[in-house]
């Protein structure tokens, strides 16, 4: 989504009614952010909307990027927000070999997660991994955070193109729509 370098377009203030709508949309999509929502989207502070290329909107608070959205699609968290609140999102893990592909902007493929180094939600995971990656399969269209084997922090945010059950079965194909990854145009953009 942000393979090329981008520069921020026009910045405008978000109306308080729209700000409330964003807040409830965020909570609907990421209920686990509830305890922290007042820190992330304080009611009394002014949220800004920054226009990005290709009809992407970025919401920022005092120049801190929070969520971005393509047209009226799901609100996706910026990776710096994911790094602050990792447990609030659905997480998957890629194996070490897939990291460099993800960081160069390649489409995320299912084998990167069905291999021994990858993790998909499952009841067969170790208790520790169950805690982290969950036990219930995720459907296509779910917003997921991609972590990596041997790493603490996430390297990508995206929307599933294929359910995790189907991935486990087929072990091939594109797993995720192009999203936001470490070092991409959104990450490097100056605000």
């Amino acid at each position: 989504m942000f393979k090329k370098d981008i520069s921020a377009g026009a910045k405008s203030k978000v109306k308080s009614s729209a700000q409330r709508a964003i807040r409830s949309k965020v909570l609907e999509e990421y209920p686990k952010l509830e305890p922290y929502i007042e820190d992330i989207l304080p009611k009394k502070e002014q949220l800004d909307l920054v226009k990005l290329p290709d009809r992407v909107s970025l919401y920022t608070l005092n120049s801190t990027p929070l969520f971005f959205q393509h047209m009226d699609d799901a609100l996706l968290p910026h990776l710096t927000l994911v790094h602050k609140y990792p447990t609030a999102f659905h997480r998957l893990r890629i194996d070490r070999g897939a990291i460099r592909f993800v960081l160069s902007g390649a489409a995320l493929m299912a084998p990167g997660m069905t291999s021994p180094g990858g993790r998909l939600p499952s009841k067969d995971l170790s208790p520790e991994d169950q805690e982290r990656y969950g036990t219930e399969d995720l459907e296509a269209g779910t917003v997921v955070v991609i972590e990596a084997e041997g790493k603490e922090t996430a390297c990508m945010v995206g929307v599933l193109k294929m359910g995790t059950g189907e991935m486990r079965e087929k072990k091939k194909g594109q797993a995720c729509e192009a999203g936001h990854y470490l070092g991409d145009g959104l990450w490097s953009m100056a605000l």
Binding site: K84, G150, S188
Partner: protein, 194 residues
């Protein structure tokens, strides 16, 4: 873990990624030096022998080779870019020109700063503060920008530049004079003064 949110993540001062991802960029060596300097504890964890060995062991032999080749390519690319930048720097000159406006009234124009990675607007502000005088930035027709300062300050500016911005070597600064000249003098002025 859930009760200690938000997590404060450290980001690399060189490549901006979390330091555990520095190994995938082209500036790994610089990143490592930065981490060793700023966060020695983290550096020890990420760059210990065991950590490096473990990184490799989880890759197949073929993938290791690919990764190595990739790393070399990236490092080379970064090195070439750096070298090119250093070369432009070495061959670039900052010109400090004394211009006579009226009899005994001068302005000083400074150009060529951008080749040294300086923020022209900021330098202009610094000049204004340092010399308590008007300083303004104008675009040059041939590209680049020029700072114009009120007064005859050529030597003071040279000294200030060398002292304040360590990226500017003294040898790359040239002082020139722009008097209201006759044709003959103009031709002579084109020969660089030593």
């Amino acid at each position: 873990m859930a009760d200690t949110l938000p997590i404060k993540v450290t980001y690399c001062g060189v490549c901006t990624l979390p330091p555990e991802y520095c190994e995938f960029g082209g500036t790994t060596k610089k990143c490592e030096e930065w981490l060793a300097d700023k966060h020695p504890d983290m550096h020890q964890k990420l760059y210990s022998q065991e950590a490096l060995a473990q990184n490799l062991s989880s890759l197949s032999v073929e993938a290791q080779k690919r990764a190595e080749k990739d790393a070399v390519k990236k490092a080379n690319k970064a090195a070439t870019a750096e070298k090119r930048e250093a070369e432009t720097r070495a061959s670039s000159k900052i010109i400090i020109k004394r211009i006579e406006r009226n009899k005994r009234k001068y302005v000083t124009a400074v150009s060529g700063l951008e080749a040294f990675g300086l923020d022209i607007k900021k330098v202009s502000k610094d000049f204004g503060k340092k010399f308590a005088t008007g300083a303004s930035v104008t675009k040059l027709p041939g590209g680049g920008e020029e700072i114009t300062v009120q007064g005859d300050l050529s030597e003071d500016i040279e000294e200030f530049l060398v002292k304040t911005y360590k990226e500017v070597p003294e040898d790359n600064i040239e002082l020139v004079e722009d008097k209201k000249k006759t044709k003959g003098e103009k031709a002579a002025a084109n020969v660089p003064a030593q």
